[in-house]
Symmetry: C2
Subunit: 402 residues, 2 copies
């Protein structure tokens, strides 16, 4: 069967249709869950309260082996009838918003406004909706489905939740497919995981009076050299590879040679090999810059590198079964599917060679990562997206057809 | 008469000795004045309260033409018997400390601790002590002496008080000598005024996502080039000339090309010509750095230069009468005089070719510009320094000998 045929068969199945009816009947409950979860703050490295609430929801949904790991991920298993292979359906618990952010949801018509409401709280509630729909319809899948609410997807969280899942979860060896349901959009299927390495580099020297200590090494000059060296590194357009010096700072007063200056650096690539090459070239540039400054003036500069981010690159082939099934399910709902590159929880399984995608939670949304973040929970567009993602999950989990 | 002979004649004069007796008798009053003035906050660009208090003190000391100019300097004239030529005896009203700094004086034995107590509040009180001593002894000088409490000596004040005095004071054309009594030390006579030019440079570009907007101009790369260009400018050791990139900052997040980055730059020289050459070379480096970045990537960087400091260089020849008299007066008290370079209110008259020195207020002190600033008002060392400076002033003002 082609992917289109598989998806068509699922969509024609009475139990899938019953599942869809259930999602429609339970739409208000899904919206209520979105609001409940959104209003539990879940800042970076502070997901505990939301994780505890979600853990109870997973338990209330009758999953097995419900639990929480030591980094804070929560999960539960829906058993399949096969040999115990596992498909992961995840959404991330964390938001980008710091503690103290007002996360109350404001509703205007079918729009909900709140920080984090779409990225990725909606998906947490939608995954529960999938679960209830499958249960109400008596859907059986060959593979077990592990539902996960994971920590640390955003920014400095550095994918630590999913990283840990693949390193330590008891079922990790049995995972043969991975979905992160992340943000509303369903047409843009993420098959490419952009890898990144991020550094904070502190250049330190003795410092001194700008006039009296003239001739002493200046850490800014070493930093300038290192920045120039990075800017000069040539990178391929394909696989897409980029570099950037972003945040810089340092110095104490206009009449003082700085003691310390810092820069933050963001290196990215669609290719792990290119990323590693870029990383080495950057580090060599820092070393050369420090050596040049130490040769040019009196005293000693040192560079202290802190790796503040490390996301592996990866790719799920656009022609792979999981990608073709997702595209077919999205197309069957009348969207025009596209395959995209991004940096999501799916980077981790992609980097391990496990088929993985980012799929959508349905409906519309915008202004993610801003205080004006919003989603639209209008029922038809919401269900349309949910049906596409549910069909994708069921196809990959090998739903038993009636 | 040699300088030594002139100083010896003054020191032997009965009226000078009576003046010295008066300074001894009034030592406690001088200390009380130091405390009173120190405890009136006088932050940069906020000298009004201390200026008002000092204005009343000048008036109470019987000076003529007491007044305040539009930038905040206060002054009063002690008339001489000559043709109206003027010698300025100044101390600066401002401190480096911001509003809200605790300026209460703590006394331990003969030590007084408080921000600004030595730099330069002691000198304000000491100059009043000189005045009372001269009056009590009936000392007459050929030249008029203009006593000044001036604003804006420190940091970004950029010598604006004394600059204004020489630009606008009604007597400016008659000034033939200038003393700034600044800090306790009397042995290190400042005859050289280090000039400086200070800039804040903002490099601006469109900014954008570090990954999605890769290839766009990055203002940090232009800044890095400009910093490297400055670092590479060769400057002479004599006249001493220096340059420094000091405070840097900018950028919004690790995954964004900055929209703006800034650097502060301090250029100094003992020679106005070298300073101008360095200034031109620095500005050319900024232009070239911006052009190079605009050529290397897409988009446009601009550099916005703000001159935050401009102190002219100048020098009073070490062999000049004023310098020789000061050295003789200092040596007569048993110190070993030296001629130094610094950046003080005396830069302005030096740059105009008017004989000018920085001399000391006597006693000891330390930790200027820190919250632990202190002075020692032990009577013998205080009077010893005051005698040296008073003899210098009287020699230059051409005291009438008995």
């Amino acid at each position: 069967m082609t992917s289109d045929q598989t998806i068509a068969a699922i969509r024609a199945d009475a139990s899938y249709q019953k599942a869809c009816d259930t999602m429609r009947a339970e739409h208000d409950r899904t919206v209520a869950d979105i609001i409940t979860l959104t209003e539990i703050p879940s800042p970076p490295f502070g997901e505990e309260k939301r994780a505890a609430a979600y853990l109870e929801m997973l338990r209330a949904h009758g999953l097995e082996e419900v639990g929480q790991d030591e980094v804070g991920n929560v999960f539960g298993l829906r058993r399949g009838f096969g040999n115990g292979d596992v498909i992961v359906v995840a959404a991330h618990l964390d938001t980008v918003f710091p503690p103290g952010t007002d996360v109350r949801v404001r509703r205007e018509g079918t729009k909900l406004f709140a920080p984090g409401v779409g990225d990725d709280t909606r998906s947490l509630a939608v995954n529960l909706g999938f679960l209830r729909a499958m249960d109400a319809a008596g859907i059986r899948t060959r593979h077990d489905i592990l539902f996960v609410g994971d920590v640390g997807e955003e920014g400095l969280g550095d994918l630590r939740g999913i990283r840990h899942l693949f390193a330590k979860h008891p079922l990790r060896e049995r995972i043969r497919g991975f979905f992160t349901v992340d943000s509303p959009e369903v047409d843009r299927i993420v098959t490419g995981g952009i890898g990144s390495r991020r550094y904070r580099v502190a250049f330190r020297g003795p410092g001194g009076h700008s006039f009296a200590a003239f001739g002493l090494v200046n850490p800014m000059y070493a930093m300038a050299d290192a920045a120039r060296a990075l800017a000069a590194i040539e990178v391929p357009r394909d696989p897409v590879t980029t570099h950037c010096v972003s945040v810089v700072g340092g110095g104490t007063s206009i009449n003082a040679i700085p003691e310390v200056v810092t820069m933050e650096v963001d290196l990215r690539s669609a290719s792990e090999a290119e990323l590693a090459r870029l990383d080495r070239a950057f580090l060599a540039g820092v070393d050369a810059a420090v050596a040049a400054e130490n040769k040019a003036r009196e005293g000693t500069i040192t560079a202290e590198l802190t790796r503040v981010g490390d996301r592996p690159a990866g790719h799920t082939a656009n022609g792979s079964p999981i990608a073709r099934l997702a595209a077919a399910a999205v197309a069957a709902e009348g969207y025009t599917p596209s395959f995209e590159w991004s940096s999501t929880d799916a980077n981790i399984p992609m980097s391990l060679g496990i088929p993985a995608l980012r799929i959508g939670s349905g409906g519309a949304g915008g202004r993610a990562h801003s205080l004006e973040e919003w989603i639209d929970v209008e029922i038809e567009s919401s269900l349309r997206g949910m049906r596409a993602s549910l069909a994708t999950i069921l196809a990959v989990a090998e739903m038993e057809l009636g």
